[in-house]
């Protein structure tokens, strides 16, 4: 009945990769992955937070506020990694029309927006004691803010295209063009920044002893694990929603039935 519709198909495709990435099969293997991933995330966070709060020294310059970095840096890392992931998924959508790439893009966008918001918020909290102001038009913060606006645009785009299948390819195109633009935006903002504020304290100018580096690394891994857990859940939700929709539609169109034809 639905043999050519990959979203609702239940038969197995031939090669191992399409089998792994096939929506139906994806649902069954990913179910077993969520609990371990979530457990790993919790363990990593427990260790990471313990290190961050109790087992790392305060910075000689910034004191205790350095601990904000253990949240800020991982979020900032995710804000860029998630866009990269979306751009790769967009290629999957455009070139191979792969339904899992569509799901991946869609599930990643709001997560990206959220982590970028966290990066901006913690950046502001850090900025207050460090620079004496919540917001500084520093190169990094400005490009992160622009990135946040791009995420918001993408989330709005997904919302507006809800229910339109063609939306996926169109959004993929926008995601890719955005990805090509990010380096240009970053370059222009840095250029603008050196023009207007030549002597700002550079956030990356810190020397980083191992006592800070270790908890930071654990927290980065923990955040990444958190993202992949949420991403997996988001993708599963998307597939299930698609299935619920198509079941409903099939009920409605049951009277018409699917049509076929041959030459006479």
């Amino acid at each position: 009945m639905n043999k050519s519709n990959p979203m609702t198909d239940t038969s197995l495709p031939a090669n191992w990769f399409s089998r792994l990435a096939h929506p139906g099969v994806f649902l069954s293997w990913s179910r077993n992955w969520i609990a371990p991933l979530a457990a790993l995330t919790i363990i990593l966070f427990t260790i990471g937070l313990w290190y961050s709060f109790f087992n790392s020294p305060p910075d000689y310059q910034m004191g205790e506020t350095v601990r904000i970095m253990y949240i800020h840096v991982p979020s900032a890392w995710l804000s860029q990694m998630i866009y990269t992931l979306m751009a790769v998924s967009a290629i999957g959508t455009l070139v191979w029309r792969h339904p899992m790439a569509d799901m991946s893009m869609k599930a990643a966008a709001p997560l990206g927006a959220a982590f970028t918001a966290v990066a901006l918020f913690t950046g502001a909290l850090w900025g207050r004691p460090t620079w004496g102001t919540f917001w500084e038009w520093d190169g990094r913060m400005t490009s992160t803010l622009v990135l946040f606006l791009m995420y918001l645009g993408l989330v709005a785009l997904w919302r507006t295209f809800e229910g339109q299948a063609r939306g996926t390819r169109i959004i993929a195109i926008f995601t890719l063009v955005g990805a090509l633009n990010i380096p240009i935006i970053k370059f222009s903002v840095d250029w603008w920044n050196t023009l207007h504020q030549p002597s700002i304290i550079k956030a990356d100018g810190l020397s980083m002893p191992a006592s800070i580096y270790t908890p930071l690394l654990i927290m980065v891994v923990a955040f990444t694990a958190l993202f992949f857990t949420l991403h997996l859940v988001g993708m599963r939700t998307e597939i299930l929603r698609h299935r619920a929709n198509s079941l409903e539609r099939r009920h409605v169109s049951a009277r018409n039935g699917t049509s076929s034809g041959t030459t006479s």
Binding site: G153, R166, I170, I171, L180, F187, V189
Partner: protein, 221 residues
Amino acid sequence: MEAFMAIIVRDIRLTLRSGGSTITLLAFFLSVGVIIPIAVGPDKETLARLAPAIIWIAALLSTLLGLDRLFVADHEDGTNASLHHASISLEAISFAKLIVHWLVSALPLIVATPFMAIMLIMDMPTLLRTIAALMLGTPALVALGAFGASIAVTLKRGGVLAPILIMPLAVPVLIFGVSAISPAPGSGTSEAAFMFLGALSLLAFAFTPFAIALALRAAHE
């Protein structure tokens, strides 16, 4: 080439005959230029310092104004469907539409800039630099805007969405555009900004036709 020119001639005719779109554009551009000095206050030094930024913001907002009909009209009346079978590619058609879009939505702004300059107490060298910067930079603005419009072509609320999508992408144009007009004193940044501005426009005009054609094809599915 005949087909390429046919698109250009048709789009110019459509703009001229659809009544008042150029007037609306100019009125909007000048209104932004009037409203900001009123909000900022009439202090001449402040105005002169802000003038480049005001002109670029007015230009950005004005080029966003005509986007909602740019591809939607052709999509809704079935023209886009038939353009798939034209003797030139959708990429070439998009390129032709970009050229027209610049002619009808950016060129009038550049022509109106001297009037704006008077209101903003701009001196002559700055005005000349402003016009040069607009000539170099508006193609990129127009191309990005057209790309946003092609993304939103099937959406009922696309007219609102396209500007939101495009503004972050327009950040580099604004940065280099304003820097080209008001360089930091005693540095070669103005020349550098002009070069970057030209590079942005070249890149945008070279690549957006492909992205637009992709989006228009996807809009049919």
